[in-house]
Protein backbone atom coordinates (compact mmCIF):
# COMPACT_ATOMS: atom_id res chain seq x y z
CA UNK A 1 0.00 0.00 0.00
CA UNK A 2 1.34 3.45 -0.82
CA UNK A 3 1.42 6.41 1.52
CA UNK A 4 -0.85 8.20 -0.93
CA UNK A 5 -3.47 5.45 -0.47
CA UNK A 6 -3.13 5.78 3.31
CA UNK A 7 -3.74 9.54 3.08
CA UNK A 8 -6.91 8.88 1.06
CA UNK A 9 -8.13 6.12 3.36
CA UNK A 10 -7.71 8.24 6.48
CA UNK A 11 -8.95 11.46 4.85
CA UNK A 12 -5.66 12.85 6.12
CA UNK A 13 -3.48 15.84 5.33
CA UNK A 14 0.20 15.68 4.44
CA UNK A 15 2.25 17.96 6.69
CA UNK A 16 5.55 17.31 4.94
CA UNK A 17 7.09 14.79 2.56
CA UNK A 18 4.77 15.06 -0.48
CA UNK A 19 7.58 13.79 -2.69
CA UNK A 20 7.57 10.38 -0.98
CA UNK A 21 3.83 9.64 -1.19
CA UNK A 22 4.25 6.87 -3.76
CA UNK A 23 6.47 4.88 -1.40
CA UNK A 24 5.10 1.43 -0.56
CA UNK A 25 4.73 0.49 3.09
CA UNK A 26 4.05 -3.00 4.44
CA UNK A 27 3.64 -2.76 8.19
CA UNK A 28 2.53 -0.43 10.97
CA UNK A 29 3.12 0.05 14.68
CA UNK A 30 0.85 2.13 16.91
CA UNK A 31 2.07 3.67 20.16
CA UNK A 32 2.12 6.85 22.17
CA UNK A 33 5.07 5.48 24.14
CA UNK A 34 8.37 6.35 22.49
CA UNK A 35 10.21 3.91 24.78
CA UNK A 36 8.36 1.12 22.95
CA UNK A 37 9.17 2.61 19.56
CA UNK A 38 12.87 2.55 20.47
CA UNK A 39 12.75 -1.22 20.97
CA UNK A 40 11.63 -1.96 17.40
CA UNK A 41 13.94 -3.89 15.09
CA UNK A 42 11.83 -3.22 11.99
CA UNK A 43 10.95 0.09 10.36
CA UNK A 44 7.14 0.26 10.09
CA UNK A 45 4.97 3.31 9.60
CA UNK A 46 4.30 4.81 13.06
CA UNK A 47 0.76 5.65 14.13
CA UNK A 48 0.79 7.90 17.19
CA UNK A 49 -1.10 10.53 19.12
CA UNK A 50 2.09 11.82 20.73
CA UNK A 51 2.84 15.01 18.88
CA UNK A 52 6.03 16.65 20.12
CA UNK A 53 9.62 17.11 19.03
CA UNK A 54 10.64 13.83 20.69
CA UNK A 55 8.31 11.93 18.38
CA UNK A 56 10.46 13.09 15.48
CA UNK A 57 13.76 12.52 17.33
CA UNK A 58 12.66 9.02 18.27
CA UNK A 59 11.78 8.21 14.68
CA UNK A 60 15.16 9.53 13.56
CA UNK A 61 16.97 7.25 16.05
CA UNK A 62 14.76 4.26 15.24
CA UNK A 63 15.12 4.85 11.48
CA UNK A 64 11.35 5.33 11.01
CA UNK A 65 10.56 7.58 8.09
CA UNK A 66 6.76 7.71 8.05
CA UNK A 67 4.42 8.97 10.81
CA UNK A 68 0.63 9.21 11.00
CA UNK A 69 -0.61 11.54 13.74
CA UNK A 70 -4.10 10.67 14.97
CA UNK A 71 -6.78 12.46 17.07
CA UNK A 72 -6.35 15.68 15.06
CA UNK A 73 -2.82 16.32 16.38
CA UNK A 74 -0.88 18.73 14.20
CA UNK A 75 2.92 18.84 14.15
CA UNK A 76 4.53 22.18 15.02
CA UNK A 77 6.82 24.15 12.71
CA UNK A 78 9.96 22.93 14.51
CA UNK A 79 8.76 19.32 14.24
CA UNK A 80 8.21 19.75 10.51
CA UNK A 81 11.63 21.35 10.12
CA UNK A 82 13.36 18.46 11.89
CA UNK A 83 11.32 15.95 9.90
CA UNK A 84 12.36 17.61 6.65
CA UNK A 85 16.04 17.44 7.69
CA UNK A 86 15.56 13.70 8.07
CA UNK A 87 13.58 13.16 4.88
CA UNK A 88 10.47 12.05 6.75
CA UNK A 89 6.79 12.03 5.82
CA UNK A 90 4.32 13.40 8.39
CA UNK A 91 0.60 12.73 7.88
CA UNK A 92 -2.18 13.97 10.18
CA UNK A 93 -5.74 12.70 10.45
CA UNK A 94 -8.74 13.42 12.65
CA UNK A 95 -9.56 9.78 13.39
CA UNK A 96 -8.91 8.06 16.70
CA UNK A 97 -5.99 5.67 17.10
CA UNK A 98 -8.46 2.76 17.14
CA UNK A 99 -10.23 3.77 13.95
CA UNK A 100 -6.96 4.54 12.16
CA UNK A 101 -5.48 1.16 13.09
CA UNK A 102 -8.70 -0.62 12.11
CA UNK A 103 -8.83 0.99 8.69
CA UNK A 104 -5.16 0.35 7.92
CA UNK A 105 -5.28 -3.25 9.19
CA UNK A 106 -8.38 -3.93 7.10
CA UNK A 107 -6.65 -2.42 4.08
CA UNK A 108 -3.75 -4.85 4.42
CA UNK A 109 -0.99 -3.32 6.53
CA UNK A 110 0.70 -5.95 8.69
CA UNK A 111 1.31 -5.72 12.44
CA UNK A 112 4.91 -6.31 13.60
CA UNK A 113 3.94 -8.97 16.12
Amino acid sequence: MTLREIVGLLDATVCTGEAHLDTEVQSAFASDLMSDVLTLKDTPILITGLCNIQTIRTCDMACLQFVVFVRNKKPSADMIELAEENDMVLIACEYSMFKTCGLLFEAGLYPLF
Partner: protein
Protein backbone atom coordinates in the same frame (compact mmCIF):
# COMPACT_ATOMS: atom_id res chain seq x y z
CA UNK B 1 37.62 10.67 16.71
CA UNK B 2 36.52 12.41 19.90
CA UNK B 3 33.25 14.33 20.36
CA UNK B 4 31.74 16.06 23.39
CA UNK B 5 28.23 17.36 24.02
CA UNK B 6 26.60 19.15 26.95
CA UNK B 7 23.26 17.97 28.30
CA UNK B 8 21.07 20.53 30.09
CA UNK B 9 18.58 19.62 32.81
CA UNK B 10 15.00 19.48 31.58
CA UNK B 11 15.94 20.53 28.04
CA UNK B 12 13.60 18.13 26.28
CA UNK B 13 13.53 20.22 23.12
CA UNK B 14 17.15 19.33 22.49
CA UNK B 15 17.05 15.78 23.86
CA UNK B 16 18.61 13.65 21.16
CA UNK B 17 20.75 16.39 19.63
CA UNK B 18 23.96 14.57 20.60
CA UNK B 19 22.63 11.23 19.33
CA UNK B 20 21.53 12.84 16.10
CA UNK B 21 24.98 14.35 15.56
CA UNK B 22 26.67 11.00 16.29
CA UNK B 23 24.32 9.33 13.81
CA UNK B 24 25.42 11.74 11.06
CA UNK B 25 29.09 11.11 11.86
CA UNK B 26 28.70 7.33 11.78
CA UNK B 27 26.81 7.47 8.49
CA UNK B 28 29.61 9.57 7.00
CA UNK B 29 32.06 6.92 8.18
CA UNK B 30 29.96 4.27 6.37
CA UNK B 31 29.33 2.27 9.53
CA UNK B 32 26.80 -0.55 9.06
CA UNK B 33 23.24 0.92 9.44
CA UNK B 34 22.25 -1.79 11.96
CA UNK B 35 25.21 -0.81 14.14
CA UNK B 36 24.36 2.88 13.76
CA UNK B 37 20.82 2.19 14.95
CA UNK B 38 22.05 0.25 18.02
CA UNK B 39 24.49 3.04 18.92
CA UNK B 40 22.08 5.94 18.54
CA UNK B 41 19.14 4.22 20.25
CA UNK B 42 21.32 3.42 23.28
CA UNK B 43 22.84 6.91 23.36
CA UNK B 44 19.45 8.57 22.95
CA UNK B 45 18.03 6.57 25.87
CA UNK B 46 20.99 7.67 28.02
CA UNK B 47 20.67 11.27 26.87
CA UNK B 48 16.94 11.35 27.71
CA UNK B 49 17.70 9.84 31.14
CA UNK B 50 20.29 12.53 31.89
CA UNK B 51 17.85 15.28 30.88
CA UNK B 52 14.92 13.71 32.72
CA UNK B 53 16.55 12.65 35.98
CA UNK B 54 19.69 14.72 36.50
CA UNK B 55 20.86 18.32 36.70
CA UNK B 56 22.70 18.23 33.42
CA UNK B 57 25.78 16.40 32.29
CA UNK B 58 28.21 15.59 29.54
CA UNK B 59 28.23 13.12 26.66
CA UNK B 60 31.59 11.99 25.28
CA UNK B 61 31.92 9.77 22.24
CA UNK B 62 35.12 8.14 20.98
CA UNK B 63 35.11 6.36 17.65
CA UNK B 64 38.06 4.12 16.86
CA UNK B 65 38.59 1.47 14.21
CA UNK B 66 36.02 -1.16 15.12
CA UNK B 67 34.68 0.31 18.35
CA UNK B 68 32.47 3.16 19.58
CA UNK B 69 32.72 4.18 23.22
CA UNK B 70 30.10 6.47 24.75
CA UNK B 71 30.06 7.96 28.23
CA UNK B 72 27.09 9.90 29.61
CA UNK B 73 28.06 11.44 32.95
CA UNK B 74 25.49 13.46 34.85
CA UNK B 75 25.37 15.57 37.98
CA UNK B 76 22.26 14.43 39.74
CA UNK B 77 20.54 12.55 42.52
CA UNK B 78 22.23 9.26 41.58
CA UNK B 79 20.67 5.79 41.56
CA UNK B 80 20.38 4.17 45.01
CA UNK B 81 19.78 0.65 43.62
CA UNK B 82 21.23 0.06 40.14
CA UNK B 83 19.96 -3.53 39.93
CA UNK B 84 16.42 -2.29 40.55
CA UNK B 85 16.84 0.49 37.97
CA UNK B 86 17.93 -2.11 35.41
CA UNK B 87 14.62 -3.96 35.78
CA UNK B 88 12.22 -3.38 32.91
CA UNK B 89 9.21 -1.38 34.08
CA UNK B 90 10.87 0.24 37.10
CA UNK B 91 10.71 4.00 36.79
CA UNK B 92 10.97 7.12 38.92
CA UNK B 93 10.14 9.48 36.05
CA UNK B 94 8.11 12.62 36.63
CA UNK B 95 4.79 13.16 34.78
CA UNK B 96 6.54 15.70 32.53
CA UNK B 97 8.89 12.95 31.30
CA UNK B 98 5.98 10.59 30.66
CA UNK B 99 4.24 13.34 28.68
CA UNK B 100 7.21 13.26 26.31
CA UNK B 101 6.63 9.55 25.64
CA UNK B 102 9.25 8.21 28.04
CA UNK B 103 9.47 7.14 31.66
CA UNK B 104 8.19 3.60 31.24
CA UNK B 105 11.22 2.03 32.89
CA UNK B 106 12.67 0.76 29.64
CA UNK B 107 15.70 3.00 29.13
CA UNK B 108 18.48 1.12 30.92
CA UNK B 109 17.23 -2.33 29.79
CA UNK B 110 17.07 -1.08 26.19
CA UNK B 111 20.61 0.30 26.44
CA UNK B 112 21.73 -3.13 27.66
CA UNK B 113 20.07 -4.81 24.66
CA UNK B 114 21.73 -2.53 22.13
CA UNK B 115 25.34 -2.35 23.29
CA UNK B 116 28.14 -4.88 23.67
CA UNK B 117 29.22 -3.52 27.03
CA UNK B 118 27.30 -1.43 29.57
CA UNK B 119 28.65 -0.19 32.87
CA UNK B 120 26.58 1.98 35.19
CA UNK B 121 28.17 3.59 38.23
CA UNK B 122 26.36 5.94 40.56
CA UNK B 123 26.78 7.81 43.79
CA UNK B 124 23.69 9.09 45.57
CA UNK B 125 23.72 12.89 45.71
CA UNK B 126 26.59 13.15 43.22
CA UNK B 127 25.58 11.65 39.89
CA UNK B 128 25.52 8.72 37.51
CA UNK B 129 27.91 7.64 34.77
CA UNK B 130 26.79 5.32 31.99
CA UNK B 131 29.58 3.82 29.88
CA UNK B 132 28.66 1.93 26.71
CA UNK B 133 30.66 0.24 23.99
CA UNK B 134 29.56 -1.08 20.63
CA UNK B 135 31.88 -3.11 18.39
CA UNK B 136 31.52 -3.02 14.64
Amino acid sequence: MHQEYTVIEGDFVNAGAASSSVKKTLKQLNVNPQVVKRVVVALYEAEVNAIAHAYGGKVTVDIDAGKIRMVVADKGPGIPDIALAMQEGYSTARPEVRDMGFGAGMGLPNMQKNVDRLNVTSEVGVGTTVEMEVNF
